[in-house]
């Protein structure tokens, strides 16, 4: 289950890990909807929480963290594998961020009546969504591999530096313009079964993330090998 380079033959079989991840997520969502008690005040809509929270955690800390670290390491080591890792983390991360940005407002609107509330984590996700989109657009506009990797790594590193500034700006903004704190998912007073569902859900989304990363990374490796074979003649 390691992310090493594959042989040059194209993968025809569906990746087992990805399949497992998909089933796991399906299972977790099923448990969340039918086998977890309904929350008292928020009702059925609260169940979005089981999708929103794991996605947010994975998008911000794991995907973006991977992107930032592999960008920094690439600038130091110039290993193409790090660039492929950054590329994969950016794309898969963008997907997870999109899930966060869709589920957040839906949850907010159905439960509290407001689409958007400049919540710290949601706002940061929004900014990173734009930054990662920009990074992918930049990558798409550069043909030459080493230039693309260099530029992408620079942008990734700068994005990591930007994060604390966004945080502080939102924090200062909120203390001066108090908003209802609606999306507060980390309430420690979650009853047992809900906590269990959350943890299961988290594990499922993480499994899916790893599966998606594996497939995406493998695609990147095969694509590069194919281009190498073409370029050699």
């Amino acid at each position: 289950m390691s992310l090493t380079t594959s042989t040059a033959r194209p993968t025809r079989t569906i990746d087992g890990l990805l399949l497992a991840g998909l089933f796991a997520v399906a299972g977790a969502v099923t448990r969340a909807i039918w086998f977890t008690p309904v929350e008292l005040r928020q009702g059925l809509a609260q169940k979005i929480f089981y999708v929103h929270v794991p996605s947010a955690f994975i998008a911000l800390y794991i995907a973006f963290g991977l992107l930032a670290v592999s960008s920094a390491l690439y600038l130091w080591l110039r290993d193409p594998r790090l660039d492929r890792m950054a590329e994969s983390a950016a794309e898969v991360g963008l997907v997870y961020m999109s899930v966060v940005l869709l589920t957040g407002p839906i949850w907010g609107k159905t439960v509290w009546g407001t689409w958007w509330t400049w919540d710290a984590r949601l706002t940061l996700t929004l900014f990173l969504w734009f930054v990662v989109l920009g990074l992918l657009l930049l990558r798409q506009s550069i043909e030459e591999r080493s230039m693309r990797a260099r530029y992408s790594a620079v942008l990734g590193l700068l994005a990591a530096i930007l994060v604390p500034f966004i945080h502080i700006s939102v924090y200062l903004f909120r203390t001066l313009h108090p908003r209802p704190i609606v999306l507060k998912p980390s309430a420690p007073s979650l009853p047992g079964s809900m906590l269990t569902t959350l943890l299961i859900s988290f594990a499922a989304f993480l499994l899916l993330f790893v599966g998606l990363m594996r497939v995406r990374y493998r695609y990147a490796t095969e694509r590069d090998e194919l281009l190498a074979a073409e370029g050699m003649e």
């Binding site: 030459e144 591999r145 080493s146 281009l227 190498a228 073409e230 370029g231 050699m232």
Partner: protein
């Protein structure tokens, strides 16, 4: 003493090797004429030796200093490429003066004037470059490359756009510089001009040097062209 030295110099773009393990040396006073078809990697080689590209493998040294190196490694190099590298809105004098200042030439303005005079274009010193003809712009480009008295000259099709008088002036200037101890690498499609100035001749093909010999061995231009055609179509 070798002023220009390439050792197993390689530059890849993605997985395509534009320059593939090239070894060459050019000593002071030598002029290497480099011929080759389009896409052979001649421009890439020049850019590597000018410190504009970082080698994928191997090393390029100019005046004993490895390139790209720090700022001082590039001090001895003068580059003429396909584009003029000029600012159209500035005058000829301002362009050359700017180059002189960037290289730390003392009395940059008078050095710039002298360089323009050398290329017989001193009377257009105060004309904006965009108002000059292509041939005149080429002369300004050459003046810009020479103003800091480079010991190494990398020339990519420097005769492009020049009329007979201009070509003649340039050829004489280059000969003077070689006589004064500079090392020249001249990439050109003009066989006659190239052979006239060369002390050594090379042919580049698909990233490698296919031929490298003293000028004497190359013979007359027509004979050389025949051999060249054989080499590149092999």
């Amino acid at each position: 003493m070798a002023l220009v030295e390439a050792t197993a110099l390689t530059r890849a773009f993605g997985n395509r090797r534009a320059v593939d393990r090239i070894d060459l040396t050019i000593a002071a006073g030598e002029c290497l004429a480099l011929f080759g078809p389009n896409g052979a990697g001649k421009t890439t080689l020049l850019r590597l030796l000018a410190g504009l590209l970082r080698p994928t493998a191997g090393q390029a040294r100019v005046d004993g200093v490895a390139l790209p190196g720090g700022a001082s490694a590039r001090a001895a190099v003068g580059l003429i490429s396909h584009q003029t590298m000029l600012y159209p809105a500035l005058t000829a004098l301002e362009n050359v003066e700017f180059a002189a200042q960037l290289h730390g030439v003392p009395n940059a303005t008078s050095a710039a004037r002298a360089a323009l005079g050398r290329l017989a274009i001193a009377d257009r010193a105060d004309t904006p470059v965009r108002a000059l003809s292509r041939g005149m712009q080429q002369r300004v480009t050459v003046a810009r490359a020479l103003v800091h008295s480079p010991r190494v000259l990398l020339l990519d099709e420097p005769f492009t756009g020049l009329d007979d008088a201009g070509s003649s002036t340039l050829a004489d200037t280059l000969a003077d510089l070689a006589r004064d101890g500079a090392a020249l690498l001249l990439v050109t499609h003009d066989v006659r001009e190239g052979l006239a100035l060369a002390t050594h001749v090379a042919v580049m093909r698909r990233g490698s040097i296919a031929l490298h010999e003293p000028r004497i061995a190359s013979g007359e231009p027509d004979a050389f062209v025949r051999r060249y055609r054989e080499i590149v179509s092999a």
